[in-house]
Amino acid sequence: ACSIQITSAPDPSIPDDTMLVAADNGSPLFERNFNPYMVNKRTAAFYMYEPLVILDNVTGEEHPWLATGYELPDPSTVVYEIRDGVTWSDGEPFTSADVAYSFQLLKDVPAFDIQGIWGYIESVETTETTVTVHLTAPDVPAAQLIGTTLIVPEHIWKDVDDPETYRNPDPVGTGPYTLGNFAAQQYTVDKNPDYWQADKVAAEHIILPATNTQLDVATKGYDWAYSFISDVDGTWVAAGNKNTYWFPPGGTIALFPNLTKAPFNDLNVRKGLSAALDRAAVGDAAAEGYMEPAGQTNILLPFQQDALDPSIPNAGLLEKDDATALEFFAQAGYTQQDGKLVDAGGTQLSFSITTANGYNDWLKGVQEVQKQWGALGIDVKVDSPQPAAYQLALRNGEYDFAMGGTGGTGSIFRDFNTLLSSDFLKPVGEEAGNNFERFDSPEAQAILDQYKVAIDPAEQLELGYQLQQIVYDQLPVLSLYYGGSWGLVSEAKFTGWPSEDDPYASPKTYESTPLLVLTHLKAVDDD
């Protein structure tokens, strides 16, 4: 675009070894809360506390971290080997007892168990070098989930009186960073000199301001931000400061039909609707052309390419074809009359799509869908309640179609389990934890049950193919486009950011994957 182009003007007082990151938003002030188990913790707690295993949701790769690895002697036992030579930032050694303590803490304080690991764990045993977790039932994928738990030091936390409200103002962790200066509008973290892979950490300090508007991000010399920004080339990149970006897919945005309702319970109707969708156009409308249309497989491409069933044509990508759509509708009893798609009784096919107010990309996508289906003679209304109400409607199954995200956890099993498992089934009006579309298929459930106990990767792959077939054939949801991971980075001070050429990790600034990035960067002047 044109006229007043404000360029990035980094604050000259920020030295070259210091990184400015938009990772943590105050609202608008920061509260000094580094309790890693709290929802409202400071984001940098993720840079201080580490898990046993890091699961990268974009690549789907597992990275052994505080554990050097884990094994499943049988589908209901997980043995984590604990890394040696790791110390807490106060100098105390990190041991398997800390791991056991952390697991126990989540059991004692259920409010901390956000992943619900104690839904799978029966008991925990430790040796000097291992932590063995006995599961309540055979469940291979649970090992991964349990491994992502952040570990806290027993020697400090055991003296905490009321962990439930403990804000952990002076965090002691194993991570690459320790808390530097803390102020309500900005805090810094400093490199932990005794970090177990200190040699890999390039940034000496990280500054995290409380306010990171897009204007700030573009103009104040940020090194790393995670945010969708309109016209990224015209703004972020054009602002200078060697800015680049990488937007890998981080999940699939899909339309959830309410399968308990007619006519959405009719596969032909779903097929008709699916065939009438121009997915690329929807993705373009929603994400300004930065995201690709998603295949009807619940598999993220290109990173999960290996898991993709090769027998599915065109990688699961469905093309818009109105003629086919009308054929399917005809089989379901709908015909076009005076430009309207009507049933045998002459009533127009009419429903609403629910999306959350404020999720603007979704809204744009829904409007595009509305347009496309509308062209076929379907009366589509858009309903956009506040996020909380949207969430409630989704869980209670009180909607016709809802916009939603699926997949993107990094775990093929979990991606399909949350989408298809009958375990989550609840009648309409009661809250379902997942499987909001209420897909009820014994066949899918049987595959999932088998997946749970499969240790052999080849078997897992095969089962994954079958699940993809189900999603492809039965359309429990209509995939639309990939939800992006919006990584904005600057190569002015540090290089080695994850990118299309070097997709080693998600560009996210929160959760544990930043550890992969922070231990991968190189300072520019070192080269």
Partner: protein, 302 residues
């Protein structure tokens, strides 16, 4: 002398609403500022009415180049979603004007009904109304709006109108009540009682017409507030961002960083239009002040 039994001219009724309207319009028009205001408002209304004819493209017709600068095809450029800004501006005027006028009208009607009965009744019911109005006055406006908006979400402009009306009528009711109270002590009101008039008729035929200017003023004030409130709600993302109004244009402008991408028109134009529309109503109000306050109408005879 005396009575003629034949050829009586038609019975002349009290001034019809049209006559009252014409009188009010004439008085307002006689004020220079108000004339400017009416011209601006008239222009906006024309643009809104003929938006389908004037607007080069549809309101949410997209597929053009994203965030484009102004050009022959797109005088004011395009949005980040690839929509024509000028077309959005023209279509958007429909909603903003509609919200302003309808919400202004509704809250004025409520204010009139409540304010007048409040001013006329005494005793228990006056206390009840007093209580309700006070409640609405002390309850914080914008937060209440946000809560109602959240509750009624997805209702489109209807919701916005309801929200603006619920939070906006009380002030007018209070003003109208005090005027009613001062009018009800006038002799002609007592005289109407002696003429055997029923309270309803006294309120609406004797008192109400005498407050025309105040009511008209209240209407323009409420309409201005409604237009600004709509913009505010939309901007906070609490409105219905799927419609195209000046408020949502600003919302999307902010959302797609129009300032960064250099889409000046996208931010400037709706803001200016809102301000112009609101100013036009304020200007018209100057003329209304003239009727309500004879001292402002210098040179006029009693």
């Amino acid at each position: 002398m005396t009575t003629q039994t034949t050829a009586l001219p038609a019975i002349e009724k009290a001034p019809s609403p049209w006559q009252v309207f014409a009188r009010v319009a004439a008085t307002i028009w006689s004020n220079g500022k108000a004339r400017i205001g009416i011209s601006i408002l008239g222009l906006f209304i024309l643009l809104a009415l003929f938006a389908p004819l004037i607007a080069p493209y549809g309101a949410s017709e997209n597929g053009f180049e994203r965030s484009a600068d102004s050009s022959w095809e797109h005088w004011l450029g395009t949005t980040a979603a690839g929509e024509d800004v000028l077309s959005q501006l023209l279509w958007g005027s429909q909603i903003s004007i509609f919200v302003g006028l309808v919400a202004g009208l509704l809250s004025t009607v409520i204010a009139v009904l409540i304010g007048l009965s409040w001013g006329y009744v005494r005793g228990f019911w006056a206390d009840v109304i007093n209580f309700v109005v006070n409640l609405f006055l002390v309850i914080p406006g914008l937060p209440l709006m946000i809560v109602i908006a959240a509750y009624l979400s997805g209702g489109g402009i209807g919701m916005i109108i309801i929200v603006v009306v619920i939070t906006g009528w009380a002030w007018g009711a209070r003003v109208l009540r005090s005027q009613t109270q001062s009018l009800r002590s006038r002799d002609f009101v007592t005289a109407a009682v002696f003429s055997g008039e029923r309270p309803f008729r006294i309120v609406f035929r004797e008192i109400l017409p005498n407050m025309t200017s105040l009511i008209v003023g209240n209407f323009f004030g409420a309409a201005t507030a409604a237009i600004l409130a709509e913009a505010g709600l939309e901007y906070l993302g609490l409105g219905d961002s799927s419609i195209v109004s000046w408020g949502t244009m600003l919302f999307w402008a902010q959302n797609s960083n129009a300032l960064l991408t250099g889409q000046w028109a996208l931010l400037f134009a709706p803001g200016l239009c809102i301000a112009l529309l609101a100013t036009s109503l304020t200007l018209i109000n100057f003329g209304v002040d003239g009727i309500s306050n004879p001292r402002l109408r210098e040179g006029a005879k009693k």
